[in-house]
Symmetry: C2
Subunit: 500 residues, 2 copies
Amino acid sequence: MQQPPLDPEALASESTAVMNFLAEYYRDVDKYPVRAANLEPGRLRALLPEAAPELGEPMEAVLEDVRRDILPGLTHWQSPRFFAYFPTNASAAGLAGEMLSAGLNVVPFLWAASPAAAELEAVVVDWMAQLFGLPRRFTFSGGGGGGGVLQGSTCEAAVCTLAAARDRQLARLGHEAIARLVVYSSDQTHATFQKGARLVGIPPSNFRVIPTSAASGYGLAAAAVREAVERDAAAGLVPLYLCATVGTTGLCAVDPVRELGEVARAHGMWMHVDAAFAGSAAVCPEFQGYLDGAELADSVSMNPHKWFLTNMDCCCLWVAEPRALISALSTDPEYLKNVGIDDNTGKPAAIDYKDWQISMTRRFRAIKLWVVLRRYGAAGMRAHIRRHVAAAQWFEQAVEADERFQVVVPRRFSLVCFRLAPRRCVHVGDDADAANRANRDLLAAVNASGQAFMTHFVVDGKFLLRLAVGGASTELQHVKEVWELLQSMADQVLQRYHQT
Amino acid sequence: MQQPPLDPEALASESTAVMNFLAEYYRDVDKYPVRAANLEPGRLRALLPEAAPELGEPMEAVLEDVRRDILPGLTHWQSPRFFAYFPTNASAAGLAGEMLSAGLNVVPFLWAASPAAAELEAVVVDWMAQLFGLPRRFTFSGGGGGGGVLQGSTCEAAVCTLAAARDRQLARLGHEAIARLVVYSSDQTHATFQKGARLVGIPPSNFRVIPTSAASGYGLAAAAVREAVERDAAAGLVPLYLCATVGTTGLCAVDPVRELGEVARAHGMWMHVDAAFAGSAAVCPEFQGYLDGAELADSVSMNPHKWFLTNMDCCCLWVAEPRALISALSTDPEYLKNVGIDDNTGKPAAIDYKDWQISMTRRFRAIKLWVVLRRYGAAGMRAHIRRHVAAAQWFEQAVEADERFQVVVPRRFSLVCFRLAPRRCVHVGDDADAANRANRDLLAAVNASGQAFMTHFVVDGKFLLRLAVGGASTELQHVKEVWELLQSMADQVLQRYHQT
């Protein structure tokens, strides 16, 4: 190490080198195959030395290795032609915010360990709640006693709220009752809630996956939940927690928040609203209706790192009763007591965010989300969302207008679920399997082309393709291009099926 | 938004503005009061608007607000005169790595979602294990079936390993047995293990906190663990998990890893070795002895973000049997199936890291740690550690040479635990309380001066001050200065006690 590790000149020169590298990357990202070109396991390991270097190497050498060895093995999540999973947004402001977070490198786990960082977080989650039209009970400034926290992922939010709900019940029933607690979700709910329930010690057999159907747009029917809850209660079990999703991962289905909230209230269950992806759309008033009834929930979460121009990672979790969260998650060892602070304050304004999350330690995520909101403003975020919704709308209409294809589930936000229409496959097999095989082939062909990356889903036995529009650089033009690609590949796929 | 959010020019100009801001920050950081100057709750909220701006604002305005409103409310964790808690390192290379992680913004949750990112992680945790002299069974390349993962914190590592241990036992005993599982730690173990045990559903009453004493240097005595385990087993409980710490948070005490491992083995318990802070020292051969016996452990963790020049957040977790971790944490929903990959591979080389951690989603942390190792090399890291150990050694000797002070626990790494010696306080109260009050006053005076920030601990009823040397910019000179400060303040404090 020639220079001290935090020498301002070293900091500036290394950051400049990376910044130039990234600017070049974004100039070229559209030229890379979207899905990693290199899918042979062990390939990168074979290129790298077996041990860390003994002596430090120059930054240029490191970046050259990134360019040569690592980039070809990455799937380019920031490509404008990345339509897989859900998007994971990056932006110039998000990166700037991340640099501030990593650069200042403070640890706001206790309020006293960086008061402004804890307070900025409380302010920014309030701003977000307001932008999305969430009930005032979820904000610090609302006066109802609620508030929010920034976590890393929905999974963390699931674990924390499940633990809070669990401990609220066990305080009443005793710990032995843990084996009688039951968690409810739909067959479209993200798997993380099942993982979370298991993590907090709920027996896996007490996780209810309630089927949905096309009739409700794959939303969770309140009547079905009520029935399951009553059956469990009659059997001596304890209904604990219900997850309602606004924008499920497979299909972007929406559960009826108000109706589910009423069931949850009637049975003393904790209801969580998971709006991980689609929650971002609620920055536009025309999408806020999907959150109607959220005042009946105990907690709500959404991920700015998905579709809100905030680089990984960032998940807003709002709770109506922070006390329930804190009871389950607080610790107070001697080495964390706020020496010199406790005596003067003890006010609710001083939030020790370590008691609102799994980990003690935490990053200064608030500054990242705050920079994004400052730089783009509410109007900029609405334009960002509407641009993608309009592009998805265009794609949906194009699919509907082509008789080889069909839209499988009506589009609600910016995800289009579509497939080659079965009527075109009866020539080759006269069964649903043939249609599924054709769609599987189509997806494989698109992804192998490197010109776009999409993922699939299966509903009611139908294999479908998902076009998730939402990449920070994705414009209508890219959606039009992927449609052209799909059209030409559909011909090839269907032709192949004719020949066999 | 005037420019697209990932426009390369926007990216470059915003990053440059932040980089200049950070370079200026690091030029000045030594001038700020180390602990936040502003400790009045609600102060930042009062300065900020009640809602997010409607229109975007220029980066300069945002950075000006950071400078004016936020910096005075931060505790400067990167100040060379930050000696509190444990250090949280930043470095030019760590920031560069963080910029690459955030800039590329890929999500290596599945191997297929970015193969090179998953593989770089597997390689870099192997490099780290090798640098620290960990047994080969914890590495992928060792051939023993083990391997590592990068998580965000020790807390996450605790939750994951506790869940793995729990599910290994419950698979044998049935879920009802969760109420009989018991976790063991010492009274010096980090509170996160207690929090983690509670999170995974172990009854809080089944968490054993075994007392330590000065006789063992506050290390956990294997005999005491054996006794507790046998008592529990005789009572029909199931010993589950034992945490051994190398470098406890309060005193940097070291538990006898080999002896504890033998007890754990004998009773079929999972043993975790928590080397969060002090693990970094094992990059130097002279400190590797503290990890002797680690081959008896099921898992080991350490945090490069503490004392290894890697910006927040980064925790290495190694496990001997990944299968146990994966059994507890895996999910396999349809939307995550590796289309087009599964058929060709299925090899262990393809690691889906989402099954090695709490969350599904994850950041590309590996590139950050890899950049640090490349830039500084093993030799650079050893020099970094030895520089701090030498400074702490100097401080320890200075304390010992001053009759007003005493070293409370022998120094092992770079933490010195010391206090005003009670013999000086008998003048004012003739009891231990007076000595504690004097030391509390001394700490408050140091922190209020803004010239250094330290935290305290209490052991055997003694309030002591902790000088944790390890900040990336901390040099011997800063340690000498804080000693001068302590000496002059000691006079004032003792004088005050004489006067009252």
